[in-house]
């Protein structure tokens, strides 16, 4: 599903190239649950952003679902966001002026999902994540864990085939973190959604079935986890 070939990324400052990623080559298949690990500043977020097409690599080839997306036009990219990719952020990034319900609804509106379908999908998600009672609250009225649940519900609303999560539990207590991780695991196993997450915690990484260790912009280790 994702094929990265010789991806390089650097930032030039004062004529000096600061490499963040060097010659990253890997393939991620449909249905995998990959945890990206590594020290701070290693380039994890950058890698994830490139996968999510939020950033472009300086060199290299990137195929998403068989399509070369290294230089995709805006319209196509928006298409992918609407139909295939869901983002989950460390800082949740919910829209402050919208209620829980409206936040979850937003991607469906962009996807032009009919209102009945919308209502049933949202009801379903609220139900699944146990946040029905919270649906009319605003983000700042929720705890961090609850906000992240909403964030995930929102990412799932458009029924993506892949979820990209950059330190989804970074701001959470361990109990809440576990809840989120088992949710990811369930989504991966039961619905076959591909998940790529960045995490610092070995324990969180164990929920997935593959770990990419990154240091100094290189993939140092690529471990498969046997269930």
């Amino acid at each position: 599903m994702i094929q990265l070939t010789n991806i390089e990324k650097y930032y030039a400052s004062k004529g000096v190239k600061n490499y963040v990623l060097r010659l990253v080559t890997t393939t991620i298949n449909q249905g995998e649950f990959v945890s990206v690990m590594g020290p701070s500043g290693a380039g994890k977020s950058t890698l994830l952003n490139i996968i999510g097409m939020l950033e472009e690599p300086t060199y290299g080839n990137y195929h998403f679902m068989g399509e070369d997306v290294t230089s995709l036009n805006e319209r196509k990219r928006i298409e992918l966001y609407r139909n295939h990719i869901g983002f989950v952020f460390q800082a949740y990034h919910l829209i402050d002026e919208m209620t829980v319900y409206e936040n979850i609804e937003a991607p469906l509106l962009y996807k032009k999902v009919g209102s009945a379908e919308r209502a049933s999908r949202i009801a379903d998600l609220l139900d699944r994540f146990n946040i029905v009672a919270k649906k009319d609250l605003f983000p700042n009225q929720l705890s961090g864990g609850q906000q992240q649940l909403v964030g995930i519900a929102r990412a799932l609303a458009a029924q993506p085939s892949i979820i990209l999560a950059d330190e989804p539990t970074g701001n959470l207590q361990s109990a809440q973190a576990e809840e989120i991780m088992s949710l990811f695991k369930k989504l991966n196993e039961e619905e076959g959604i591909t998940i790529i997450q960045v995490t610092h915690s070995e324990k969180n990484a164990q929920y997935g079935n593959r770990i990419l260790h990154i240091a100094d912009g290189l993939i140092k280790e690529d471990i498969k986890i046997q269930a």
Binding site: S45, N49, G52, L54, E55, E74, R75, I78, E79, Y81, R82, F87, F89, Q90, A91, H93, L94, I95, D96, E97, A106, P107, Y110, K111, N140, R154, A158
Partner: protein, 797 residues
């Protein structure tokens, strides 16, 4: 502390350069407009100020109440002053003054002609100057200089103009008209521009030929009486004696229209639209209020920008507020600090406003043809006004934002967790709606004024005024003999098509009206306007007869032509029926020879009057000359030459009928220009404010925009989202503005008897204009926000 506040204020303003610029720009343009309006209004309100007896000085005016209409004159019958002096005990002094145009000639020491000119002269009794006793006499005194016939008093300026200096003027002679010799017996101060008495040449009343007129039924608005009430008396105290006086001199059975005299206080003269004044500069109070309201609108619009931008920006300063509060700052100190900032901004705006005002003064003076003193430093009250303006703005614009910002809770403020609460947002929305409602009212007003002026200029008047020159001719018996030679000589000019002797053009404010008798029955319902003109008049102005025929060439009134309106008012349906009936009016008894198709005989503010046209050589003041439009300049030069050789003692003056007609709409034209300027200013202020606001909103919503992009929103959808609320606000503003604009506009149009219908299009156009500019203004900024790179916002939190 204050110095520190100033420093912080400066840094903050500098940090937000863009918003500061918008604020200062909007405020300074608004302020400049206000200062100009203030200067204008102050000048108008200062008319005839400073007379120490001002509340005892009154002008006596005359009113009529006919069954169908009322009439007003600033004049009194000639015998009024003498009678009132004896019979109205409350008057301490009564002085008559008459304004006339006269021809003056000044000779040098050898008796050779040095200068001749046509001037406005005033015949005045010494008592006039005892009423207006603050007019300074540089030489002599009223009783000494004006008691005898054949004396003249000049203003210092005219003494210089005629004789070189005040000293040289004293005792010199000048000639009035053909025969009368005047001796300069006194010099008075130059009258200021803000005076209803532009007295330059004052001749003793004893020289005035008409002074023995004893007719109580004849009132000329240029013949006025001014009175000084006895000390301590109010006009109410004189009511009874004036009523008795009216009853005695204007008995209903003898004098038509319930004629009566009334008192008008000195300071009301300039603001009266019913009664003329010598300076021809009256302005009615509603115009002054209208301007003041526009000034207020401008300032409010500019202040709304300020309030909106500062409250919007306040969020970014919440951390500063939090820290200050934790450090122990009281709320009042914070308010003080933010007010200091506003004050600095208003002061900066004032400086720029002064520069703009200075730049705007010359075109303004040009617009008002130099009749109004515009000067930034002309009067101390202008400084007081500026100081007040700055304080007013600093407070109006600064207080609410200061209150909001200083109210932030420190804990939240430090964590930068302050979001704009819903209430603040809706107040801002209301302000934007108010601002745009004002803007739209002005746009609609401007469109309607422009349209009406076009209508006035294009409406067919029922006659053709194009390429017709009115050439003044002397009216004395010697000149009258030469009328025919003059006519023959100019008829021969190749450019001249037709010539008619007449009083005035068909459309003129200067036509006498009188009561009349039709078919032996005296009419009591309306007055008849009397135009004197020879039979060629109809050809020169292309007037069409609908019945009967023209009168024959004659030096005296042999027959007349009436208009359709006359028939309508007399309820005569068949024009033929009127032919041959006899009319008695203004001392002439004549049969009706024909009926002329209606034409506008007054400005389009008025309905067409009933009128009669008949010949009368003794009362022609003008020759109207129809000229071939291709040869106008050359022909006029020739006419001038012939005129001067025919009437060597006169002064040639001429005017094109078209231009004279346009001059009747001068105040509307000035208003049109002012409307365009102020509408432009207000549009500018509103839209830079809008730009500031959308900039801020776009910055505020960067994160949201980024998230939405990641969720799959396209740039167009994001632009739409950012624009949406603004378009809705401007739309609501249109809806709010329409009824208000409709009220203003129909009130203004009601002043015209002939006017455009108030249609939907100025409103629709105003909406289209405002929505289009909004869309452009807002899209520029929101497109930038929507197409910006997302990732940086989402990356670091």
């Amino acid at each position: 502390m204050f110095k520190l506040n100033l420093k912080i204020a400066w840094r903050n303003l500098w940090k937000n350069k863009g918003y500061t610029l918008i604020n200062i720009l909007g405020l300074s343009i608004g302020m400049a407009s206000c200062i100009l309006i203030f200067i204008f209004i102050r000048f108008q309100l200062s008319f005839d100020e400073g007379y120490k007896n001002e509340d005892r000085i009154y002008r006596v005016v005359t009113n009529w109440k006919y069954s169908a209409y009322e009439d007003f004159s600033s004049g009194v019958p000639v015998p009024f002053a003498a009678a009132a002096r004896n019979e109205i005990a409350g008057f301490e002094t009564v002085g008559s003054i008459v304004k006339r145009n006269a021809f003056l000639q000044i000779n040098d020491a050898n008796g050779k002609e040095k200068m001749k000119s046509q001037e406005a002269v005033y015949y005045a009794q010494p008592d006039f100057f005892n009423v207006l006793s603050d007019i300074k006499w540089i030489y002599s005194a009223p009783e000494l200089a004006l008691a005898e016939p054949n004396t003249v008093v000049l203003s210092a300026k005219y003494a210089e103009k005629f004789f070189g200096s005040v000293k040289d003027a004293i005792g010199k002679n000048m000639r009035l008209g053909e025969k009368i010799n005047l001796k300069v017996a006194g010099i008075i101060q130059d009258m200021p521009q803000n005076s209803s008495f532009p007295l330059e040449i004052v001749i003793s009343y004893e020289t005035y030929k008409g002074r023995f007129n004893n007719n109580w039924d004849s009132v000329n608005s240029a013949f006025c009486s001014y009175v000084l009430l006895k000390e301590g008396l109010r006009p109410e105290d004189l009511q009874q004696s004036i009523a008795n006086f009216n009853k005695k001199y204007y008995p209903v059975d003898k004098i038509a229209g319930n004629q009566e005299n009334k008192l008008q206080v000195l300071r009301a003269i300039h603001f009266s639209d019913k009664y003329d004044n010598f300076a021809n500069a009256s302005i009615n109070r509603s115009q002054i209020y209208g301007l003041a309201i526009i000034g207020l609108f401008l300032i409010i619009t500019a202040c709304i920008n300020f309030i909106n931008l500062s409250t919007a920006q306040s969020v970014t300063r919440s951390k500063e507020v939090g820290v200050r509060k934790v450090m122990g700052s009281k709320r009042s100190q914070l308010i003080y600090q933010f007010l200091t900032e506003t004050f600095v901004v208003s002061l900066a705006a004032l400086l720029i406003a002064c520069v703009i005002t200075e730049l705007a003064i010359p075109p303004m003076q040009h617009l008002f043809k130099g009749r109004i003193e515009f000067s930034l430093f002309g009067h101390p009250s202008i400084f007081a006004f500026m100081a007040l303006l700055v304080l007013f703005i600093a407070f109006l614009a600064g207080f609410y934002p200061a209150l909001v910002i200083s109210g932030f809770k420190p804990a939240l403020a430090i964590k930068n967790k302050i979001a704009l609460n819903k209430r603040g947002l809706s107040l801002r929305k209301i302000l934007v709606v108010a601002q745009f409602a004002i803007t739209i009212v002005l746009i609609v007003g401007t469109l309607v004024v422009i349209k009406q002026m076009q209508f006035v200029q294009q409406k067919s008047l029922g006659f053709n005024p194009d390429a017709v020159a009115m050439v003044g001719i002397p009216n004395d018996s010697l000149s009258k003999i030469k009328y025919n030679t003059f006519k023959e000589r100019i008829s021969k000019l190749p450019g001249v098509e037709d010539i008619s002797f007449c009083q005035s053009p068909p459309l003129s404010g200067n036509i006498n009206s009188s009561d009349f008798t039709y078919n032996g029955v005296k009419n009591k319902d309306f007055e008849l306007r009397n135009i004197r003109a020879d039979e060629n008049f109809f050809k020169v102005f292309d007037l069409k007869l609908i019945a009967g025929k023209l009168y024959h060439k004659s030096d005296t009134a042999n027959a007349c032509v009436v208009n359709e309106t006359f028939l309508k008012k007399m309820s005569i349906t068949n024009p033929e029926e009127a032919i041959g009936k006899v009319i008695y009016a203004s001392g002439n008894t004549v049969p009706i020879a024909g009926v002329v198709k209606d034409f506008n005989d007054q400005s389009l503010r008025e309905q067409i009057s009933a009128l009669a046209i008949f010949p009368g050589k003794n009362d022609y003041w003008n020759v109207s000359v129809k000229i071939d439009s291709k040869q106008i300049a050359a022909t006029m030069k020739e006419i001038d030459k012939i005129w001067n050789s025919t009437f060597p003692n006169g002064v040639f003056d001429s005017a094109f009928v078209n231009e004279t007609i346009n001059s009747y709409y001068e105040s509307e034209q000035i208003m049109g220009v002012l409307f365009k300027i102020f509408a432009g200013v207000i549009i500018f202020i509103s839209f830079i404010g809008l730009f500031g606001l959308i900039s801020f909103v776009a910055t505020q919503r960067t994160k949201e925009v980024a998230i939405r992009k990641v969720l799959g929103a396209s740039t167009l959808e994001l632009v739409k989202m950012l624009n949406g609320s603004f378009l809705v606000m401007v739309f609501v503003a249109n809806i709010v503005a329409w009824p208000l604009a409709y009220l203003f506009v129909s009130k203004w149009l009601a002043g015209f008897a002939y006017r455009i219908d108030v249609s939907i299009w100025p409103f629709a156009l105003a909406m289209a204009i405002s929505m289009a500019i909004t869309l452009v203004t807002v899209s520029i900024r929101s497109y930038k926000a929507a197409s910006a790179n997302t990732i940086d916002v989402l990356k670091y939190e």
